[in-house]
């Protein structure tokens, strides 16, 4: 045997011995040379697999809210409780029915009480109103999600039930979300409700494809749907089917989330009939900066605009009333003009983990200066209508400012319905201002009149399971120079005419 072969054999034998030695020992023997810094350890006991048959989580939440009604403003406050107490009990259950099937629920029981209503008398003086059962204080069951999912193949799964599916990349607002109840941008965690749908999804190695059919819920009672897709013969408001079909293709291309969306809806989230729409969403991270774009492309618009002739003065209003001319119409409903909605934004994470997010929203069909002037003219008619005993609560376009219930019944503190063309959303969040305190602020600005809503909050994670929050909600009118004015000269800006001066709330949320 040559020396080389002998050395190789020795080396192999030594290596094999070393391996055998290591394999024979269930618990590591640290080399003697390392005993100072590497103590011996027993191998941890093997625990059962993580996945459970039933997984239950949830929270209880109580929110005490004080709203100062702006009885001196133009919008009526008679449906606005100044004091409101909201209690929510939420439970989320996930049941693994079979290895590839599961049932998931996210259900809230919401109880609320409201009182201390304020309004004005015929002389315009503030008066206390009797408590009433306004839409904001109705108890309800909110089925946020309730669905069954089954994976036929790793590359093909089916989901049926109610689920919130968001494909867009926007943080405060999602122009491409044509399915779900709109989120409150100042309170995004409160709106988790989805829609009833069936989804087929194919997650392939290079892309994910999804197809969704969502029949529209036409009627519901306390959050429980009672009429879906079409109206019955005995209550035939129309003969059409109400639905939204949505498809998307998602791929990670050059480290960028790329989502293409296609929609076809018929009198679903709006009055469009047989309407195709296309969406695009992108997101990319540059170091500590996440940048995103979300766009919806459609022809026409369902935006409601006021008839200038009907709102210019009292005489015009009377003439329209006599001639039965509608005060508000949707002139863009059948238009072929391209009306995109585009949101671009970024989110920057600082070294101390604080986060700054800035987004800009453009809506081609948003109101221009003339449309806002019509709105101001109409607002100027409210005091006269009120004096004449006309109910002005359902004034076109004003509903969004009342803090009304969202479309699935959940009370929201701010129903954001952007009517203008240019908006900015600014969010700043600083965790650990003190150990468990998080400070944040959300500012929403109409960039035409520079009116804003400012929502500062302080959240204390008192324990692992309890969060206590103080929040405020302050609408700030823009400068008079940018405002449109009523016939009486009152300046009108979008967030300057909210029916409340401010809101303050205390919230306690206990998780289990």
């Amino acid at each position: 045997m040559s020396n080389r072969l002998f050395i190789a054999a020795l080396a192999l034998a030594t290596a094999a011995f070393a391996q055998e030695d290591a394999g024979a020992a269930p618990v590591e023997r640290a080399p003697e040379s390392a005993v100072v810094v590497a103590p011996l350890a027993e191998a941890p006991t093997v625990e059962p697999r993580f996945s459970k048959l039933v997984d239950v989580t949830g929270y209880g939440m109580t929110r005490t809210q004080f709203t100062r009604a702006r009885t001196w403003g133009l919008l009526p406050t008679s449906d606005l409780p100044q004091l409101q107490q909201l209690v929510e009990f939420n439970t989320q259950v996930k049941v693994s029915v079979r290895p590839r099937s599961y049932l998931s629920t996210d259900i809230s029981l919401v109880g609320s009480w409201g009182g201390f209503y304020r309004g004005v008398d015929a002389d315009g003086r503030e008066v206390a109103l009797a408590d009433k059962a306004s839409p904001q204080v109705q108890p309800l069951v909110s089925i946020n999600e309730l669905f069954v999912s089954h994976e036929f193949l790793p590359e093909l799964n089916l989901l049926i039930g109610k689920k919130r599916i968001v494909w867009g990349t926007g943080l405060a607002f999602n122009p491409t979300d044509l399915l779900n109840p709109r989120r409150d941008p100042t309170d995004p965690t409160f709106q988790r409700s989805g829609v009833w749908l069936a989804q087929v999804e194919a997650p392939l190695s290079f892309a994910t494809f999804s197809l969704v059919f969502a029949p529209t819920v036409l009627k519901q009672t306390a959050g429980i749907p009672t009429q879906v897709l079409g109206y019955p013969a005995f209550d035939q408001k129309d003969t059409q089917l109400h639905y939204q079909v949505a498809a998307r293709a998602y791929a990670l291309i050059l480290d960028t989330d790329v989502t293409l969306m296609g929609f076809f809806g018929n009198r679903s989230v709006d009055d469009f009939e047989a309407k195709p729409r296309v969406g695009l969403a992108l997101s990319h991270v540059f170091g500590a900066l996440e940048a995103h774009l979300e766009a919806l492309f459609q022809t026409g618009s369902t935006r409601e605009v006021l008839n200038s002739a009907c709102v210019k003065d009292v005489m015009g209003a009377l003439q329209c009333s006599i001639a039965k001319t509608p005060y508000a119409t949707k002139p863009g409903l059948t238009s072929d003009e391209l009306r995109p909605k585009v949101l671009v934004g970024g989110r920057y994470q600082f070294a101390d983990d604080s986060l700054l997010s800035l987004e800009y929203l453009y809506q081609h069909d948003g109101w221009n200066q003339d449309r806002y002037q019509d709105f101001a003219n109409a607002l100027g008619l409210i005091p006269e209508g009120r004096a004449a005993g006309v109910d002005v609560t359902n004034f076109p376009g004003a509903g969004a400012l009342f803090g009304v219930a969202s479309s699935d019944g959940l009370p929201v503190r701010f129903a954001f319905d952007p009517r203008g063309r240019h908006y900015a959303f600014l969010t700043y969040q600083k965790p650990r201002v003190f150990e468990d305190f998080t400070l944040s602020a959300v500012v929403i600005a109409n960039l035409r009149d520079l009116s804003t809503t400012v929502t500062p909050s302080l959240i204390w994670s008192a324990t692992d399971w309890l969060n206590l929050s103080l929040l405020a909600f302050v609408p700030v009118p823009g400068p008079d120079a940018l405002a449109v004015k009523t016939q009486q000269g009152t300046p009108i800006t979008e967030f300057g005419i909210t029916p409340f001066a401010f809101r303050a709330m205390f919230e306690a949320r206990a998780f289990f």
Partner: protein
Amino acid sequence: MKTTLVLSLLAQVALAAEPTAAEILAKYDAIMGPGTYEALAEMTATREDGTSRTYGMRFLKRDTDKFRVWFSAPASVKGQEILRLGDNSWVYLPNLKRATRIANRDSFQGGDFNNADVLRVNYAADYTATLAPSPLPDSYAVELKSKSAETAYDKIRLIVRKGDLQPLKGEYFGTSGQMIRSATFTEHAEFDKGFTRPGRIVMQNEVVKARKTEMVMKTFKLDVDAPPQRFMQADLGK
């Protein structure tokens, strides 16, 4: 007979040759981030006031660049998920019912680990290594220099013990040259057949000395079933 003894000694010397920096780095990656595994872990973050928060989580890793985390505790974060795919990471927040992109520099659940410390253990790809004198006996030290500005740290000094190259200590530096974190790796144990790794990692915040975060591995199983669909953005929240 003499010749045989000499040859044997030569062979032993050859086997005991010092490993290169690249070999140490490759071994570190193989220990801390093996190809495919599933693990249960508990992370305890100690804050400046002495109080602590404990998080339970499950890890699933596939290949070198696919990583998934499911949080199981405490109740306030239960249901949160993280996905890492190559240089891209997403977090799924059950309250929002959606996933959003996160940067690699973000701290992992507000503790002293960076997301990259937990989600991306592939130092050989991210850093260039050179041998350095070790301050501990019977150990090697390597200094790692970031290859790009995208990494969580500008420089890392790793100390591994001789013999099996198990990590003992890590020191992590920012671009200013200041040490911002240091890690101690202890309780080395055989978690799976023939696979030994540290069972406890304590990450000390060197900027705020009262802060530290401890990661304890409860289980660590290699070569588990990890279908590629679990590493897709569409799977988050399911």
